[in-house]
Symmetry: C2
Subunit: 200 residues, 2 copies
DNA sequence: CCTTGTCCCGACCGATCGTTCGGTTACTCT
DNA sequence: AGAGTAACCGAACGATCGGTCGGGACAAGG
């Protein structure tokens, strides 16, 4: 039956291995041979669980996108003053990014060579746009600086957040999700200079 | 003679075409066939000008690294108060990044699959380290906030700057290098919140 | 026992990979 | 004009690519 539990591979466990290799070697730089070596099964056996290489990519970026879009559906992201909703979304982005680190990492590196990659890029743009609107509303309230273009600020803040995938590693003794989220929020809203009180 | 000017390809003109394709498709996702189509010459002719695909990558990342390390040798980056030297370096990084956009873009995307890529990653880390020391000195002077770890701040600011390659396109009617550098410096040092006066 | 279906494998497919080679064109210099 | 050579090409190289195929091992249900 379909609900039976086996100690062999499932599409999910295979995915976690594949995503790790994708992030180390790059998607295009990873062959099915690399995946079979990393997973410990033969190349042809992979096709018993998933349709192919691109399905693994699709499953991975879907998981990342679900996590990000899920933020926008949370109550604190939907109701309240835009500036506060924005800060909440920024913090949650960091948390989700860390919680789903390998999947988001892969999402952020997609180039657009295949249909799956182009779909991922489109959905990413959609998410960016939603956050940009939040920032725009906050600027309309006079809660954030207006001397820099909204679109530019959005891109820079996204750049700062997304760069986390380039260095954060869950060592155990490192920072946890909350600490990183605090640092990002403080730096993004308060800036590098000492004068700012950092709010709270 | 070697100084003769031809209207055919040189390693440099070929490089500019190759880097553009590398950035569109990714290095691993680009075949020599793709390059020959984009350059308008046959695949085998490329090997008359360069030793192979990896040499094109090495030339490209070398150019980007030379631009970045060149900043650290400029006078304003070497003498003066660390906090001011830091702000100068940040602004110059943005300018160099935009001036050498395709080359820096490629540099920031290498994964480490070949010797060339690993060498590029090592030199990048060296540059990051040099800037981190500058930030550390500025923190020692009490000129920047110390409530966030120096290494973390460095990474986040680098993330913000480096993200420029993901969206900046020299349209002509868009922002110029100086305007982007100003915005980055203002956001990095002054933060998103309105309270900050933005210094000057 | 035998069937059924899951899980896995080695061998192989056509296509494409980066690269090489022999040879032709076209320009420069004398 | 003739020699020399830089620039270029089509064809082909062995290797590897993502993916297919037929079948074997194994556990569960009858």
């Amino acid at each position: 039956m379909t609900t039976a539990k086996r100690d062999t591979y499932t599409p999910e466990t295979l995915l976690s291995v594949a995503v790790q290799v994708f992030n180390e070697r790059g998607y295009d730089g990873t062959s099915m041979e690399h995946l079979s070596k990393a997973a410990g099964i033969s190349k042809s056996s992979i096709y018993h669980h998933v349709a192919g290489k691109e399905e693994l990519l699709r499953r991975a970026v879907s998981r990342a996108l679900d996590g990000l879009f899920g933020i926008l559906e949370e109550e604190d992201a939907r109701v309240g003053r835009p500036a506060e909703r924005l800060e909440y979304v920024v913090r949650r982005m960091v948390e989700v990014l860390i919680a789903e680190l390998p999947y988001v990492t892969l999402l952020l590196r997609v180039r657009g060579n295949t249909d799956t990659e182009r779909w991922a890029l489109e959905r990413r743009r959609e998410f960016d746009h939603r956050v940009a609107e939040l920032l725009k509303a906050a600027a309309g309230d006079g809660d954030v600086r207006e001397d820099i273009e909204v679109r530019l600020v959005t891109r820079l803040v996204f750049g700062m957040i997304n760069s986390i995938v380039e260095w954060y590693r869950p060592d155990g003794r490192g920072m946890n999700e909350r600490e990183v989220a605090d640092a990002v929020a403080q730096l993004a809203f308060g800036g590098l200079r000492k004068a700012g009180d950092g709010r709270g």
